[in-house]
């Protein structure tokens, strides 16, 4: 399995689950350092993205339960509450450029998903 994304600046990694605990093209929420992190598995391989689980439009912790997709090739997730969409790579909201959610480093090691902390 090939694994990816934003690992460069992270130093401190926490293993949260197996890749196979995440159905292809869905998300899960992990509890990492007292924060809620939404992790998405895009496609059938092990391409992962991690953003905050907090939806700034509804103030609820739900983004991991949104529908995953793409907009012009850019991977995104739609909030399950009011349907705003967020760029999975950058956390930017497509519907309102002034709003974005934090992103987290994420990688796969030996079939295990790890979320990192930026230093």
């Amino acid at each position: 399995m090939q694994a990816i994304t934003h690992q460069s600046t992270a130093t401190d990694w926490i293993t949260v689950c197996a890749v196979n605990d995440i159905l292809p093209n869905t998300g899960v929420c992990a509890w990492v350092n007292h924060q809620q992190v939404a992790i998405f598995r895009v496609g059938h391989e092990a391409t992962l993205y991690a953003i905050a689980n907090y939806d700034p439009f509804s103030n609820a912790y739900v983004l991991s339960r949104g529908i995953v997709g793409d907009r012009g090739g850019i991977p995104k997730v739609a909030s399950p509450i009011y349907k705003q969409t967020f760029n999975l790579a950058t956390g930017e909201c497509f519907d309102n450029p002034e709003i974005s959610v934090p992103t987290f480093p994420v990688r796969v090691v030996d079939g295990q998903v790890q979320v990192g902390r930026f230093e």
């Binding site: 949260v16 689950c17 605990d21 995440i22 159905l23 292809p24 093209n25 869905t26 899960v28 929420c29 992990a30 509890w31 990492v32 007292h34 809620q36 992790i39 895009v42 496609g43 509804s58 103030n59 609820a60 912790y61 739900v62 339960r65 949104g66 529908i67 995953v68 997709g69 793409d70 907009r71 012009g72 090739g73 991977p75 995104k76 739609a78 399950p80 509450i81 349907k83 969409t85």
Partner: protein
């Protein structure tokens, strides 16, 4: 007195109705504001609105929907609009107009656009409470308010407006009668035979028609309408009467200042729309040209254009009469009448096809040699009106077999003559706004229009009566096709198909004979027919299509990621991210034991409980990790999923019916339960709701449902395409007095036809409003099998019914599915941000301001 610009001359318009407003628009478009102070008196409390679609007011259209005036139009163009101010006097010597508010304004030129008023025959008792006319929004508001306390309503006058008004009364829930003095309905437009057919069709919808009745007295009781007495000695009890016995031009001011008026009223105008005083013009329904009043909007619009032209450059255009052709849908029945409908031209001949089975009557009037079309009448199906109008207006040589024009093509396509592509550029497509085929084509090409909404906006075609919209749509499609552009009704960027086309791709893959496997997953459909990765638009829509075709469980791994959160967790998400639970309670019937279980579960999990608007019980506030535990309890007690989360059948509400009620004529509860169990879980383009009432009192509100059933002495009446919610719409009668078996067969066909053809998130009411041919067409498809698909539709439904499974029952027994029901993938504690507050003895989510006061523990 309002300030006037000195260098400019004053142009005063009296009346701000449809034509008065069109005139102002024309003047602005011609740049006339540079030379004129434009001033208008508007007697009504609101500026110009769409009177033609006035009845839409009863179908949920608001004042804002009906207005003709773009926001800011009058202000931006410095038009002085005197709203709610009637002009009361014209002094032609001093050249000024006085108003009811006491202002007096001088004019250089004056335009009458005062329209007309409804004629009320001088019948004794005509002023009693409960008598109305049908002309303005204020009239409709008054009727609606009064009708709340009425059972029966009568329209006096069976003309075009009378029937439209009858429709409105019927939609207000009144037992509706139409009383017509002549021997047939719509005597001006339709001949005897057509009128008889129209009467039959309209009576079939439940409006009672009384022809050849002359009212001699309206009897009051305590000042309110009580009954009507007719010349033949018969009587009719009624609570409300609307007069629709013709219109009279509003020429009183013109008379008072001695302008020339016609013998039977109307301000006489010449070809320049000038009255007998060259400084005064008259346009619209108040004007009399060549001894004729034009009671339609399009001739009025023509006059508005001519008057504007002549005011800006005298002699530049002229009015030479106008066509009085009309096409309408009255009570769901198409009626059209055009040209020389009554064959008055010498030597003219008629061809009539009357089909009592389909309920259609079609007549063509042709010249002596049958080479050109002079006019005609269409009742029951007027879909070819636009094409026939073109043949008539362009004097096209007719084909040898005239009947081919009236009958659907036997084989191959329609007659080439009738296709909009083949019309000449001069052909007038929109008669309301006088837009030709050439105008439309030019706009489509030059401004690169690709959808009907922008065509309407840029050309104004289709914004009047709407009758030309099918032709405009055909033309747009033809133009785009010619330009090599696909008409874009694509679902989203990932699929270059409409929902209907995608449905067809999936459905036809079931029986496809080619080597490719059937399409059973989103990924495979995307691979074969789409691009990219999908999104929140196409995924749920395709999940729904797959469910409608295959009826797989929606949480199977290949479907799980496609579902909106409600479907993904088989529950309804709430504002704090927790869920509500709605078990199915078929027909609203529930045993005490079931109630106790619901109470126990609610207590145990501390759920907020509420009776829903759908006759069942909703338990709110379950965390995602609690959902399976709760459902295990509910399923043990015999409950199953209520699909409150799905674009699927919701509830079939019932009244108690003949089981208990003294008025019930059938067992409505049993039928509601049977229907709810039959269609439970059925996935559709949008949610589906139903209800069954045990008698005409309609306690279950079946007429507001996607399909609603009302018991009759003889069986069941089936109503379809109703809607509550945002834009309420009454359901319409599809078929009457059905036995239960036929009823279910029709519902099967209706639902599957809707599922096949509707757009994404389109309720049946919206779908129906776009369905060309309306109820007539739907009846032909569902009852008469005009498309030859009924056997397929029934088989598709049978598959659905046979393969139903409770999604929750499946999920609680499937460890793989259950894995998703937890908030954290790596921890067992719940979402620490869910905070509750007590209100009226139950818990609800805290509001943001309350949250700040409560300590939020980030640590579980």
């Amino acid at each position: 007195m309002a300030k006037q610009h000195l260098a400019k001359k004053n142009l005063i318009v009296i009346g701000n109705g449809m034509v008065g407003h069109k005139f102002l628009e024309r003047m602005i478009a011609k740049g006339a504001a540079q030379n004129w102070n434009l001033i208008a008196f508007c007697e009504e409390p609101r500026v110009a609105y769409d009177r033609v679609n006035l009845s839409g007011f009863f179908d949920g259209k608001t004042e804002a929907d009906l207005t003709l005036v773009e926001p800011g139009f009058y202000q931006n163009h410095q038009i002085q609009m005197h709203i709610g101010e009637r002009a009361t006097k014209i002094d032609r010597d001093r050249k000024c107009v006085s108003s009811a508010h006491g202002s007096t304004i001088p004019y250089d030129k004056l335009v009458f656009a005062t329209g007309s008023y409804p004629f009320v025959p001088p019948i004794q008792g005509k002023d009693a409470d409960g008598t109305f006319v049908y002309r303005t929004i204020a009239d409709l508001e008054a009727i609606a308010a009064y009708a709340k306390h009425c059972r029966v309503g009568v329209v006096i006058g069976g003309g075009l407006l009378g029937l439209e008004c009858a429709n409105a009364l019927k939609n207000l829930g009144l037992e509706t009668h139409v009383v017509e003095f002549m021997s047939r309905l719509m005597p001006v437009q339709v001949d005897e035979a057509g009128g008889q057919l129209l009467k039959r069709e309209i009576e079939a919808i439940g409006v009672r028609v009384h022809t050849q009745k002359s009212t001699t007295e309206i009897v009051n009781e305590n000042g309110r309408v009580y009954k009507m007495v007719f010349a033949d000695g018969t009587e009719l009890h009624t609570d409300l009467i609307v007069f629709s016995a013709g219109i009279r031009p509003r020429d009183d001011l013109a008379r008072e200042c001695d302008l020339q008026v016609g013998e039977r009223g109307g301000i006489v105008i010449n070809q320049a729309c000038q009255t007998s005083d060259p400084n005064i013009f008259a346009i619209g329904e108040c004007a009399l040209y060549d001894n004729q009043i034009y009671g339609l909007v399009s001739p009025g619009y023509l006059m508005a254009g001519v008057a504007a032209d002549n005011l800006c450059s005298p002699g530049s255009s002229s009015f030479a009469g106008a066509d009085m052709s009309t096409k309408l849908k009255l009570l769901g029945v198409d009626v059209a009448s055009f040209g020389d409908a009554f064959a008055k031209t010498t030597g003219s001949r008629e061809l009539v096809i009357s089909d009592a089975i389909q309920g259609t009557y079609k007549k063509l009037v042709v010249d002596a040699t049958a080479t050109t079309l002079l006019g005609g009448i269409l009742v029951g199906d007027a879909s070819i009106y636009g094409s026939l109008m073109q043949l008539m207006q362009t004097k096209t040589t007719l084909p040898p077999h005239l009947e081919d024009l009236l009958l659907p093509p036997r084989s191959g396509g329609e007659t080439a003559l009738m296709r909009v592509e083949n019309f000449p550029d001069t052909a007038q497509i929109c008669s309301c706004n006088n837009v030709s085929k050439g105008d439309l084509c030019a706009a489509i090409r030059d401004q690169q229009l690709t959808d009907i909404a922008s065509v309407k906006q840029c050309t104004t075609a289709g914004t009047g009566c709407g009758g030309c919209v099918p032709l405009v749509t055909d033309l747009l499609k033809a133009e785009l096709k010619q330009a090599g552009i696909e008409v874009n009704n694509h679902l989203c960027e990932h699929f270059a198909y409409s929902r209907q086309e995608l449905y067809h791709l999936v459905r036809s893959s079931v029986s496809s004979t080619d080597a490719a496997p059937p399409i059973q997953t989103f990924d495979y459909l995307l691979h074969r027919h789409g691009r990219g990765a999908g999104c929140e638009i196409c995924k749920p829509a395709i999940a729904s299509i797959l469910a409608s075709v295959w009826n797989d469980l929606i949480l199977n791994p290949s479907h799980a990621g496609l579902q909106d959160t409600n479907d993904a967790f088989l529950a309804n998400i709430q504002r704090d991210g927790t869920y509500s639970i709605v078990p199915r309670v078929p027909g609203g019937e529930i045993t005490p034991d079931q109630l106790i279980v619901l109470g126990e579960v609610a207590k145990e999990f501390n759920l907020y409980s509420k009776i829903t608007g759908g006759q069942r019980i909703d338990l709110f506030g379950a965390r995602v990790d609690q959902l399976p535990q709760i459902w295990r309890r509910l399923i043990e007690a015999g409950f199953e999923s209520g699909h409150a989360y799905g674009k699927a059948l919701r509830t079939v509400k019932s009244c108690v019916g003949s089981t208990w009620c003294r008025f019930g004529v059938q067992d409505s509860t049993s039928l509601a339960i049977a229907l709810e169990l039959r269609y439970r879980g059925l996935r559709a383009p949008h949610k589906l709701k139903s209800a069954v009432s045990g008698c005409t009192r309609e306690c279950a509100e079946a007429q507001s449902k996607d399909f609603g059933i009302i018991a009759t002495e003889k069986g069941w009446n089936l109503y379809v395409c109703g809607n509550g919610g945002m834009k309420p719409q009454h359901a319409q009668l599809l078929a009457a007095d059905l036995d239960t078996e036929t009823l279910i067969r029709y519902i099967d066909r209706f639902l599957m036809f809707y599922i096949r053809t509707a757009n994404r998130l389109e309720r049946t009411a919206t779908w129906f409003n776009k369905l060309e041919g309306g109820m007539d067409y739907l009846q032909r498809v569902v009852i008469h099998d005009a498309l030859g698909i009924c056997a397929d539709l029934e088989a598709e439904m049978a598959h659905q019914v046979a393969t139903y499974e409770c999604e929750w029952k499946d999920a609680i027994d499937d460890p793989a599915k259950l894995k998703r029901f937890r908030h954290f993938v790596n921890a067992d504690h719940p979402d620490p941000n869910v905070i509750r507050v007590e209100e009226r003895g139950q818990l609800r989510p805290a509001y943001e301001h309350e949250r700040q006061l409560l300590t939020i523990g980030t640590q579980p």
